[in-house]
């Protein structure tokens, strides 16, 4: 591997100090903490590293970077979690979710697309409000939209190429995987229709106005990319959900059928009746692959 150069010690110390200041949460007025992590007043400590200008103190100058750090990252989370931010409003999202989350999971990758990938986990571990399940489901759906949008496309299953001499029975024993751009959800409400209505207005609109109605009832959904690479969703039956969920982990048709034989009769009947149509649809849409992501 090509070599690198050892960094100067003074540079490292300077950058470590700078970083320790800018990652500290700003207050409700977007102001920097007046006391450094060392316990010394920022106005005093900052002068050791940063020159004051004619118009700003040393602390005032680094405060600009402290603000930019939080405004930029919170802005990314607003864009990545549009349903969540509308459930809270900007202010409450920032202070209840966004900033505590980013303190627990600060960015560690060059891609900002990955900034929110631990938010559902953080919510599960740290949030205790009555609406926790709704928020968890909302965060997972929002995250899935981002991940589906950017996911790789594996070589789709080609039935003709995958069978030997037109013998499709060979396909039954081959392990199949769902495209990584496909996400499955089992919910106690129609959160997708709710999200669609919610996103018609900006987040602050919902502070003064009633939320859209959230239809209750067990439902199963699939999120995927269409041929235009737009992320779309559709409601599916429990049988199709269970079968696709099995392929998501990697399975042969034989294994999937054995799994289904163990399910309730109503599910088995649904699958038996629709299996051929579903599998034709999945293959035609390129949802299945012999490759693993």
């Amino acid at each position: 591997m090509p070599f690198d150069v050892r960094s100067p010690q003074q540079l490292k110390q300077c950058q470590q100090w700078f970083a320790s200041i800018i990652v500290r949460p700003i207050d409700e007025d977007s102001r920097m903490d007046l006391v450094a992590p060392s316990g010394v007043a920022m106005e005093i400590e900052a002068k050791n590293y940063i020159k004051p200008s004619r118009t700003l103190t040393s602390a005032g100058r680094i405060e600009l970077y402290n603000q930019q750090y939080w405004w930029r990252l919170l802005g990314i989370l607003h864009d990545s979690f549009p349903l969540l931010v509308r459930l809270f409003g900007y202010h409450d999202f920032n202070h209840t979710l966004g900033m505590p989350y980013l303190v627990a999971y600060p960015p560690d990758h060059w891609s900002l697309n990955r900034l929110g990938e631990n938010l559902p986990r953080w919510l599960a571990e740290n949030y205790s409000g009555n609406d926790k399940q709704l928020l968890l489901d909302s965060s997972r759906i929002d995250l899935a939209y981002t991940q589906s949008f950017l996911a790789a496309t594996l070589a789709p299953l080609n039935v003709a190429d995958s069978s030997k001499n037109g013998d499709f029975a060979t396909l039954l024993s081959k392990k199949l995987y769902l495209q990584p751009s496909i996400f499955l959800f089992q919910l106690a409400y129609d959160l997708f229709a709710f999200r669609r209505e919610f996103l018609k207005e900006e987040p602050d609109y919902w502070i003064e106005n009633d939320f859209p109605s959230l239809e209750q009832g067990e439902k199963n959904f699939l999120l995927c990319r269409n041929p235009h690479n737009d992320v779309v969703w559709t409601e599916i039956s429990l049988g199709e959900y269970l079968l696709l969920n099995y392929f998501q982990r990697g399975a042969t048709f034989d294994e999937a059928c054995q799994f289904l034989e163990q399910q309730e009769e109503s599910i088995f009947e649904d699958v038996a009746k629709n299996m051929q149509r579903w599998s034709q649809k999945w293959v035609a849409r390129g949802w299945l692959s012999l490759q693993r992501s």
Binding site: I50, L56, I62, P107, W110, P180
Partner: protein, 287 residues
């Protein structure tokens, strides 16, 4: 031999940054624009719409890559996973050169997603120049570093920014991606004369110029890329452009978007400031 003598850097004309709000207009109207600059990281993805949009753009327009997370000055090892993906994209887009910023933005295990300024010391010059040379050798295409807008100066600084910038690019034998808006913003925040900056950098190493708008807060100026180019910045451009003997010019507009057509009109204003060089060329040709 200095590599800047061995490369032929094309003057692509006037371009704008490729941004999502403008896609629809671009794909519908196929405007007669010279080139687009892309933010490298936006297209270093596994798949999906970004790649599809990039392919459509590349069918008709030259594309140049500009990155934001190389962090050449960070006290952290070079990220070879990132560099390999960057090089793969460079091959895919056939970008004639690739640029990123003279800054730091990460430490081991952490990314700050900002363009943070470096202390201007001889030690840092040596460190950054060596790393820039490594990156240049790896990428195998012309590599340029862009000057920052900055809001802090360090107690450790031993030289002015223009001396620091020049020393690095000459030592590393790389190019400059000169942002004239950043010269102006930094001149306001650090109280220096932009003319002094421009008089003291090796213009023969400039392969591209950036123009942009900024936000003036009185006590400080922020590089926000969300506004028209100010007259003072056009004046710096008019000074600099003839001295480069003509290089590609790009307008950056990254927030509070206006229509593609109006963004393009703003970028085209650069032509009036290129007149001096064009006249000089015509005089030479006629003489």
């Amino acid at each position: 031999m200095s590599q800047i003598k061995s490369h032929t850097i094309p003057n692509l004309g006037i371009g704008i940054g490729l941004r999502i709000p403008h896609y629809e207009e671009i794909f519908r109207n196929q405007p007669d624009i010279d080139w687009f600059e892309i933010i490298s990281e936006n297209f270093m993805v596994e798949g999906g719409k970004p790649k599809e949009n990039l392919d459509r753009i590349m069918e008709r327009y030259p594309v140049v890559m500009h990155g934001v997370t190389l962090s050449i000055g960070s006290a952290a090892e070079l990220d070879w996973d990132y560099l390999k993906k960057l090089k793969a994209l460079a091959r895919y887009t056939k970008t004639p050169w690739l640029s990123d910023h003279l800054c730091w933005g990460r430490l081991p295990g952490a990314h700050y997603h900002d363009l943070l300024p470096l202390p201007y010391t001889k030690e840092v010059v040596e460190y950054v120049a060596e790393r820039a040379r490594i990156v240049q050798d790896f990428l195998e295409i012309p590599f340029a570093l862009e000057n920052l807008s900055s809001y802090v100066a360090y107690q450790a600084d031993h030289m002015p920014e223009w001396e620091f910038y020049s020393a690095i690019v000459e030592k590393a034998d790389i190019y400059m991606m000169l942002d004239v808006n950043n010269i102006y913003v930094s001149s306001r925040n650090h109280h220096f004369d932009p003319k002094v900056y421009c008089d003291n950098i090796p213009m023969e190493r400039v392969l591209q110029i950036h123009l942009a708008g900024h936000s003036d807060h009185g006590d400080y100026v922020l590089d926000t890329h969300d506004n028209y180019v100010r007259d003072e910045v056009w004046q710096i451009y008019a000074e600099v452009y003839p001295r480069t003997r003509g290089v590609s010019t790009l307008l950056e507009w990254d927030d509070n978007f206006i229509s593609f057509e109006d963004t393009w009109k703003e970028a085209l204003k650069a032509k009036q400031f290129q007149a001096e060089l064009i006249s000089a060329h015509q005089a030479t040709a006629g003489g």
